[in-house]
Amino acid sequence: MSQHEIELILARHLSEHLAMPIFIVDPAGDLLFYNEPAEAILGERFDETGPMPASRWSTIFQPVDQDGKPLSPDDLPLVVAMTTHRPAHKIFGIRGLDGAQRQIAVTAFPLIGQAERYLGAVAIFWEIPE
């Protein structure tokens, strides 16, 4: 069995102790984990969704901009952090897996380890009340 790099392991452990919603992807962009506070916004427990490829998580939540127009996956902060290896931030709407429409603010940043290893990216997000 392969093992995740320790920075990803630590990120997951940290997220499990925090009350902030956190979403973690690997270097390929595949979802590795989201924590319990994130489950409330994404509308489904991680144990039920499990890991998923970037092509799925970038569209499954049906992101829309503040005018309600569909948002390209390339414009999502997490995708920007993955592709540019720089932090990114945006406010946009999603439809949770429970069907509820929510406005969220997302700040994403890349994980870069010792020896310049790109290890994936992390998104911290929170719901913006209507």
Binding site: S2, Q3, E5, I6, L10, R12, H13, E16, G113, R117
Partner: protein, 279 residues
Amino acid sequence: MKVRLWGTRGSLASPGPDTVRYGGNTSCVSVTGSEGGLLVLDAGTGIRLLGQYLAPDLTCVNILLTHLHMDHVQGLPFFMPLRRPGVEVHIWGPASTTLNLEARIKRYLSPPLFPVRVRDLLSELYFHELATRSIEIGEFLVSAQMILHPNPTVGYRIQERGVALTYLPDHEPALGCQTFPHRGEWTSGYALAEGADLLIHDSQFTTMEYQARPGFGHSSIPDAIRFAGLAGVRQFVPFHHDPSHSDDQLDRFIAESLAELQPPFEVTPGMEGMTFQLD
């Protein structure tokens, strides 16, 4: 592959009448391959005696440092081959984003911390940085991976002729886990230790001591046994004993942990001078 423990103590050398059996020297292990190749794992105070045992006509040695905490490098300038002209010495250690390996070792090997400078050593010195990768050194396949311990730290898996030794002397895989052990893919060090014939692993604390020291980078003896069980190793060697633990205390702590957990693999507490033949 022949493995010998030259120093099993953690944090600080602790010679004295209470540490005669487990030993007082800090981390150092030698690995000799079937073709005579030599790897030295860490350069704690135990490396001094190893240097005296090596043949005077030795021409090449590889020292694999897990990290640069003092108990793992303090013996380096006392390792005789480093002072011999014509000996090729390769020092491997973890990469860092700040200073390169040579510059970091020079911080110790220079006044006022030490009177002898790296440039005063007579051997031919080569420094190599590692993070997560595999390399061939002589007859050995050496895999390194970053592991959980304060400051950049790598663990090693050394394979030769179908047998594997895993060396994780300073390691806290339980850090932050709500339940331990977690699944292997979410456990530091797992890929290095999976199915190893011999695992040498940090076992510094008792469970009570660990509860007061999470984040120090070390494991309790029971957590180390649980990690060995998760990885499915054949034989486990508790290592990096706390300097405050006497021989009698270590006997008791390890016996209590074994009675509690009853691991299905062999557990051989690491003692200075102990050898293992892996075939």
